[in-house]
């Protein structure tokens, strides 16, 4: 008994302390007017490092120059996990920039990022200047807790020389065309292994993600109530079966061996850059890699092809991007808002960021700015950003959990281990909804 009392006390203290330590300040009311003069120190946490961090710093310098009494305390190299921990621990985070839209559901619903609605309304910020997709992934269940800080748009990269050598004069617009061209461009070594591949259909290779492949049929992820729509959207079954047939046409083992032998995606050994891969799904940032690492590559970019019976959704692509918000424990939210507003809505700042980071700008004025550095290949992605056919992954309280569940099943299915496709996709629904119930229930 003597031992039990202290133990019980310790458990009780731990429970109370653990639960109490989690309580944070709720959103406070804001001043009815924006401050006429800004002064003080505001902290900015972002994930960029090295050269990219310098680009952010140059824009921060501009902000400080425009506001001489403001000092921005920049914390670079802080990924989402560190940002999450810092906010939870009550560290002085004013503005946080994340590389992923996957955090929006949790950050908005928990209040980790403040509701920006009152600031936007007070200062008359036009949300309509953001493209529809970027505006949608920065809010969750009616709460806008973030603004887009540039975007990534995904399309198809095509090696024009290899395409011409195979006798084609245009990039594919349908997946059927893509498969025909890819098979024509694929060459094999004497031992039967792949030498050069027209297109790698293997799920999981580089940017072969369910998010990009969903665009080929315009498939949707979640229902309005946040539960999985994968089993109910016939597009998923259609594209999974089509992709598996494509994999089987070349051979899973051959594709796996080829993929394993290729260079890292984010290096000069990227298979598309070295000419070992003729066509590839990728983001707008690849144009910067190519300009730097393979400047002689003759290539073009087009929107992601669709299956022939989904051609009405051609022209778009998967759009995602960086997002910024004001942390709940911000000590100077007005300064934080001023900085966030500058980074996301000031035309010159957004153009400078876009030119430096080679990501797509997210506001109309920046997209139309003559100062924006645009190559023909990069223009494709600017068009994708503005296309009504572009889609994104909806914010969810489980982050990217629903995408992982889909990717896991797809990976099994392409190997022939997925069983009945309809049952498999229903199983994906169940896995996602069970996981959602852990974070969102009565």
């Amino acid at each position: 008994m003597k031992m039990q009392r202290p133990l019980a006390a310790i458990i009780a203290i731990a429970a109370v302390t653990a639960l109490a330590a989690c309580s944070g300040p709720s959103n406070q009311e804001i001043s009815p007017t924006a401050p006429a003069h800004l002064e003080g120190t505001v902290s900015l946490w972002h994930f960029f490092s090295d050269r990219e961090a310098d680009v952010i710093q140059s824009v921060v310098d501009d902000f400080e120059a425009a506001n001489p009494d403001v000092t921005v305390d920049v914390h670079s190299g802080q990924d989402d996990e560190k940002l999450q921990k810092a906010i939870a621990a009550g560290n002085n985070v004013d503005v946080g920039i994340s590389y992923s839209t996957d955090i929006v559901g949790a950050f908005c619903s928990s209040g980790a990022f403040r509701d920006l609605g009152p600031y936007i309304e007070r200062d008359g910020v036009d949300v309509g200047q953001f493209s529809e997709t970027t505006a949608s992934y920065t809010q969750f269940e009616g709460t806008r807790c973030a603004l887009p800080v540039l975007a990534d748009a995904y399309g198809l990269y095509v090696n024009d020389d290899m395409l011409a050598d195979a006798g084609y004069d245009h990039a594919p617009q349908t997946m059927e065309e893509l498969e025909e061209m890819a098979l024509a461009m694929t060459t094999y070594k004497d031992d039967g292994s792949i030498d050069v591949l027209g297109f790698n259909p293997l799920m999981g290779y580089y940017e072969n993600t369910p998010t990009n492949w969903a665009m080929t049929v315009g498939a949707t992820w979640l229902k309005d109530d946040g539960t999985s729509n994968i089993g109910s959207d016939s597009g998923w079954a259609e594209i999974l079966q089509w992709q598996k047939d494509f994999v089987d046409a070349i051979g899973y083992d051959k594709l796996q061996a080829y993929s394993a032998g290729m260079g890292q995606e984010f290096s000069a050994d990227n298979a598309f850059q070295t000419g070992k891969l003729a066509m590839n799904f990728d983001g707008e940032y690849r144009t910067a890699f190519i300009a730097d690492q393979a400047p002689d590559l003759n290539y073009s970019t087009v929107p992601i092809p669709t299956l022939a019976d989904h051609s009405d959704s051609y022209g778009g692509g998967y759009v995602t991007g960086n997002i910024g918000g004001i942390a709940k424990n911000s000590k100077n939210p007005e300064l934080a808002w001023a900085l966030l507003e500058y980074l996301t809505t000031d035309t010159d700042a957004v153009v400078k960021l876009s030119n430096g980071l080679k990501n797509a700008p997210t506001i109309t004025s920046a997209l139309e700015s003559p100062d924006l550095e645009v190559t023909p290949q990069f223009q494709t992605f600017l068009d994708i950003i503005q296309s009504p056919n572009s889609k994104t992954t909806p914010p969810s309280k489980v982050g990217a959990g629903y995408q992982q569940a889909m990717g896991d099943y797809w990976n099994k299915f392409q190997q022939g281990d997925g069983g009945d496709l309809t049952d498999g996709l229903t199983g994906v629904d169940t896995a996602i909804n069970d996981s959602l119930a852990l974070v969102d229930g009565p």
Partner: protein
Amino acid sequence: MSAVPLNSGRTASLAVRPGLKRSQRRRQLTALAMLTPALLGLAIFFVFPLLASVVFSFTRYDLLSDPQWVGLLNYEYLFTKDPKVWIAAGNTLWFVVILVPVRMLTSLLVAMLLVRARQASGFWRTAFYLPALVPPVASVVAFVFLFNPGTGPVNTIIGFFGGQGPLWFNDPALSKPSLLLLGVWVLGDIMIIFLAALLDVPREQYEAAELDGASSAQRFRYVTLPNIVPVLVFALVTGVIAALQYFTEAAVASSVASGKATVGEGAGSTIGYPDDSLLTFTQWIYVRGFSNFQLGYASALAVLLFVVAALFLVLLLRRVKAFTPEEAQG
């Protein structure tokens, strides 16, 4: 020398008792004061997080908002619905029952060879220990590049002799054995302890055994083994704990082998590659906690890991009692 009355001790004892008490109390207080930093550290960094994890395991908690009590919901999900927890547990078990013994046996073998080395022993000891100094991330990256199926020197050499090298880290069947090779390569940390223990075995015991006609196997069984049992148990216990917490090597191997290694954007999307063959229990805790914002559920996983680790170690220590020097010699 004067005679001492029989009861004088008791009388004296009674007379000095308050003083002794003060002295004892002072000693106890000194001991307590000196232990306080360690006890505080233990309480703050071990007991509190452990108990907090237990509490959180009964809550819905995302780290960002207040936890909500959900009773056994997390545990129900863990045992009946989690699609990957048993895959992660199986992979972790593989590292416990394969990686740990193989590393120990290899380290012991190398240490025994080094004990017998007559020439350039310093060089060989350094050579075998050196890989342990390489940071884990760097050694994994180097290994994955060495074993790259397309460009790595290992398959290039195999190809030179007419063979076709396997996919190594890209093959679900070979990814764990590939990490095992890495684990053996960096055996210096255990090997150096075994080497010290072997050098510490009294020579006269070997000489006595030889005089008694003991074979080399018998000398190992009845002389070497009993003398190094404490070190073996230490290596086994720390090895099992490390294997249960296996994370960095598997995560980096997955990231690099998948071809998606990057900086600053987390590793959530590549964890487990290929085909979840490198998904370990601690990685699954990380994914659920920080990628899926399910810290409450991740706490339930952590509690399960703690319970399994504790049971495993209790059973292990009970088993190895039979191999203590006293038992072995008795």
